[in-house]
Amino acid sequence: MSTRQVRLTINGREYSGEVEPRKLLTDFLRDDLGLTGTHVGCEHGVCGACTVLFNGEPVRSCLLFAVQANGAELKTVEGIAPNATELHPLQEKFWELHGLQCGFCTPGILLTAEALLKEIPNPSEAEVREWLSGNLCRCTGYQNIVTAIQEAAKTLSERRT
């Protein structure tokens, strides 16, 4: 069985591993590197639970092979908070405004939302829903997720001024 060496940066830290080419990036993150914040949902690109930022852009990690991430810069949910004691404004608002119930879809949604707020600092409700369309949540009905993202946008823009 031939394996490949993968070196990449995740949340600002260097990681490496030996993988079979068929190993999905999701499984590499969770099983090999112990970064279990990235969730495995449908494993065929529909649910968005496994969304990570790949060179800054939200993508499905279940539709990438780990070998393809060689040299890439990734961000997973473990890297969203600024430090061990503080939460990211998105996380705070999700907590405060009930933006999650079971929490299974939350990591993917937080990363999608972070990318959204980088691109559109004050998104309209329609824009938030457009970006969220690739992340399925079966608990909340999305309303509080949308509100939390828009409130986090306000916090972030207040901080910038």
């Binding site: 069985m1 490949r4 068929r22 065929h44 852009e57 993508v59 499905r60 092979f65 457009e130 690739g134």
Partner: protein, 294 residues
């Protein structure tokens, strides 16, 4: 492990990629964005022995526009097509079609060439490319040929690509001046696979009569309805004209039934979308003539 075992190849040039295609032929699959291929592999619906990853072939990813045409490298991401100001300005049909593909996370990875080579019946870019008379550059190690989009799509998930060929580039010529366009689609939820779709381009002459018409519908393969296009030439846009054209457009349209919709529903939906697409394209053509459209 979800997918079956395969040998992984990561060429860094077109030449190297074509060499691998020549060597492994029908046992190989080229991997572009992987947004359709990898789900099929995860389900083990396909088990290619060799995977040739084109993501390291940087010379395959580009958008180049000049006065005559837009050239799209096969591995250009769909999101790039969607966000290009040049595409929005001169080929807005492509931007509008791209925005219907899956979700942002999918379009960040999915490629233009990948969607075309996959040739899924409900896919947006094949319909748009047929409407725009695009030509596809297909290359093998020792051959290079150009095929029109209409001749490229043969049937359900079947294209003119030979086992050792790669789709390298898509060329789209400039639209006639003041052309209006429209891409219409019905799906259960935004981002789902389309149940039906239609694309239209219309341009009007100084008297307000149609002098350029393109209409394509989704079916088992994209269907351009030339007879209907020809019948529109010289006519003035009207609701009655487009209603009649849309009904005639679906006469020979092949559709399949599945769990999501019957063939009959899809045909009916295509007729409604064809009418809306023609009407919106006509409105935009008028706006373009007045110079008010963005």
């Amino acid at each position: 492990m979800k997918p079956a075992k395969f040998d992984y190849h990561d060429p860094t040039s077109i030449e190297e990629a074509l060499g691998l295609m020549a060597q492994f032929g029908d046992q190989a699959r080229p991997l572009a964005g992987g947004q359709s291929l990898v789900p099929l592999m995860n389900f083990r619906l396909i088990r290619p022995a060799h995977l040739i990853d084109l993501n390291g072939v940087s010379e395959l990813s580009y958008l180049r526009a000049d006065d005559a045409a837009l050239r799209i490298g096969a591995t250009t991401r769909q999101r790039e097509l969607e966000r290009s100001p040049e595409v929005a300005k001169r080929w807005p049909l492509l931007r509008d079609a791209a925005a219907f593909i899956g979700h942002i996370q999918i379009r960040n990875r999915g490629t233009v060439g990948g969607s075309l080579a996959h040739a899924f019946p409900s896919a947006e870019l094949p319909v748009a490319m047929v409407t725009l008379d695009a030509s596809m550059v297909l290359c093998a190690k020792t051959t290079r040929r150009s095929v029109s989009a209409e001749d490229f799509f043969l049937s359900y998930m079947t294209t003119a690509l030979q086992p050792d060929e790669l789709l390298l580039e898509i060329a789209v010529t400039a639209l006639p001046g003041n052309a209006g366009w429209s891409y219409q689609e019905v799906s259960r939820r935004h981002g789902d696979f389309a149940l039906a779709g239609a694309a239209a381009v219309l341009a009007l002459d100084a008297n307000g009569c149609i002098h350029h018409a393109r209409l394509t519908l989704t079916g088992t393969t994209p269907m351009r309805v030339r007879k209907v296009e020809e019948s529109l030439l010289g006519e003035r846009p009207s609701e009655a004209l487009f209603r009649d054209a849309a009904q005639r457009a679906i006469e020979n349209l092949e559709q399949d039934s599945d769990i999501h919709a019957s063939a009959e529903y899809r045909r009916d939906a295509c007729a409604a979308l064809a009418r809306r697409a023609l009407a919106q394209a006509a409105v935009r053509a008028v706006e373009q003539m007045k110079g008010t459209s963005q």
